[in-house]
């Protein structure tokens, strides 16, 4: 089955083409175009305008790269939520238009679940992982239990990426700030104590953000602050992930989301997995960030398990939670 997936929940618009081969996901093409605001954070309407301008072009590119014909496509999948309303509506409109013009079925999927399934779909031996999903908006620890992907731990306030971006804005660096903070942190040597906030398996970052901003105003070395932010937040993320692994008795851990590109976070989670005797997985970079291939793959899984959607019922859902999805494609 050949599926075209369109992603557009936030600042990235992406189109991926995938094929199901021997129960695994083969990515034929995965084109991503990212909106970068001239200043500040993501403006939802401007991000949506960006997506509207480029989406037709990206669909063409994706089809060309995959070396297929439009008529070969069996299914159109799109990110139904969660995300920014204007962006979701733009993406869904493109998916509907494509579904109607090609006369192929449409299916809307949950973005967070797609991050987990793409790991299972493309990585050998990744069967039943606990996912640490870290991006701008999302910070969740997700695992399969009793017929659903359940959120065992999540941020109680802002996402880790958002925390990094907000700090970046304070110190005057451009969005997305994570990679620059990572670079600065490499030269940090002195640890400045920041709040380490864990509530059960949940986590919170806003207190830490305020404390980090105070250090900046006091004139502490920027490298040291960035180092301290990373060490504190990532240790807390790794700890809640380990707690979820112990609680669910699972021995695989998977990373997903844009912040999973951070080497220090990878390093910490890998060390944790190694010490527990668990296996560690991380998808390739283009499948870690928001992308169309993961949306296409989840669309295929859902479609094959019997789920159908009509264009009339393809509403988006800005608050589409991970645990709202009935997982019909897994035992």
């Amino acid at each position: 089955m050949l599926c075209l997936g369109i992603e557009g929940t936030a600042h990235s618009v992406g189109v991926g083409l995938i094929k199901k081969v021997n129960e695994k996901c083969r990515v034929l093409s995965n084109v991503i175009k990212t909106y970068s605001p001239r200043q500040g954070g993501i403006h939802p309407r401007e991000a949506a305008n960006h997506h509207a301008i480029y989406i037709a072009d990206i669909i063409k590119k994706s089809i060309k790269k995959a070396k297929i014909k439009r008529g070969d496509i069996d299914l159109i999948s799109f990110s139904q939520g969660p995300g920014l309303g204007p962006c979701l509506r733009t993406t869904a409109t493109a998916a509907r238009a494509l579904s109607l013009s090609l006369d192929k079925p449409i299916i809307g999927v949950n973005h967070c679940v797609a991050h987990l399934e793409i790991g299972r779909g493309t990585l050998d031996k990744c069967k039943d992982p606990v996912l640490l999903y870290t991006s701008g908006a999302n910070t969740q620890v997700i695992a399969f239990a009793e017929g659903k992907y359940r959120v065992f731990g999540e941020t109680l306030d802002i996402g880790i990426g958002n925390c990094l971006d907000k700090f970046g804005r304070t110190i005057g660096i451009d969005f997305p700030c994570g990679p620059k903070i990572e670079q600065l942190a490499l030269d940090g040597k002195n640890y400045l104590e920041l709040p380490y906030t864990i509530k059960g398996m949940d986590i919170a970052f806003s207190g830490l953000l305020t404390a980090a901003e105070q250090f900046y105003k006091k004139g502490e070395k920027l490298e040291d602050i960035c180092y301290s932010i990373q060490e504190t937040t990532f240790a807390a993320l790794t700890e809640v992930t380990e707690r979820a692994m112990a609680h669910t008795e699972k021995n695989q851990v998977l990373l997903g989301g844009g912040v999973a590109a951070n080497k220090r976070l990878r390093d910490m989670v890998q060390k944790m997995a190694c010490e527990r005797g668990a296996s560690f997985f991380v998808p390739t970079r283009d499948l870690c960030v928001d992308n169309g291939a993961m949306i296409a793959w989840l669309g295929v899984l859902m479609y094959i398990s019997g789920i159908r959607m009509s264009v009339e019922n393809s509403f988006i859902n800005q608050r589409f939670r991970t645990d709202m999805v009935d997982v019909t494609w897994r035992d």
């Binding site: 999302n138 999540e154 509530k199 240790a235 700890e239």
Partner: protein, 208 residues
């Protein structure tokens, strides 16, 4: 040194069976984590060991069942405590009759209210951290606990349990309601304030 058998490996500690004087005990040994820097590692291990021991002793004073503490080693992060040969609530809750489940959940709620009457915040109330023995619910694992009188903290404390029940015992959706019944009965202050706070905390989360 007596030979020690690890009976359980949690996220942050190993539980070993041992002997102390003539008692059967378990040692909860917090393990160093190489993924975090030494400063954070040492601080978390010593502060959690200290807090946990303090809160367990206090919980006992106010009449909530917890294991008896025999020894605390802050340098190595070890608490030696009574060995409770009971069953984890996590393992039995799904197999009870509705009536028994209701009774048990109410009992749990009453104990949490007793904690909160004394400003004890457990910090990690999950069904893995409660042991049923001799018809009494014993609480363990106070490592994330603190003393705090704020309604916010009490709300978060209950919210952790709510999430644990939803994720691990999702088929029995009445459990949390029963917990709150017991909680209301036993709490000295107005429980509705705390319950309203739980709603606020839920809404504060992403996509609620």
């Amino acid at each position: 040194m007596i030979k020690k058998d690890i009976i359980y490996t949690g996220a942050e500690a190993e539980i070993c069976v041992s002997k102390y004087m003539n008692y059967n005990v378990v040692e909860k040994r917090r393990v160093h984590k190489s993924y975090r820097i030494d400063y954070i590692d040492n601080k978390l291990i010593s502060s959690r060991t200290r807090e946990e021991a303090k809160l367990m002793i206090e919980a006992r004073k106010i009449g909530v069942s917890v294991p008896i503490i025999y020894d605390v080693d802050l340098v190595n992060g070890i608490i030696t405590m009574e060995y409770l040969k009971g069953k984890r609530i996590k393992d039995i809750l799904n197999n009870l009759s509705e009536k028994k489940r209701q009774k048990l959940c109410k009992k749990i709620g009453e104990s949490i209210a007793r904690f909160h009457n004394n400003d004890i915040i457990h910090g990690d109330i999950t069904t893995s951290n409660m042991i049923l023995l001799d018809d009494r619910v014993h609480f363990i694992d106070f490592g994330l606990g603190e003393k705090n009188s704020e309604i916010e903290s009490k709300g978060v404390d209950l919210h952790v349990l709510m999430e644990a029940l939803e994720s691990t015992h999702s088929k029995y959706s009445n459990c949390f309601k029963y917990v709150l019944e017991g909680y209301k009965k036993e709490l000295k202050d107005d429980a509705n304030q705390v319950i309203k706070k739980i709603d606020d905390i839920v809404k504060r989360g992403r996509y609620r």
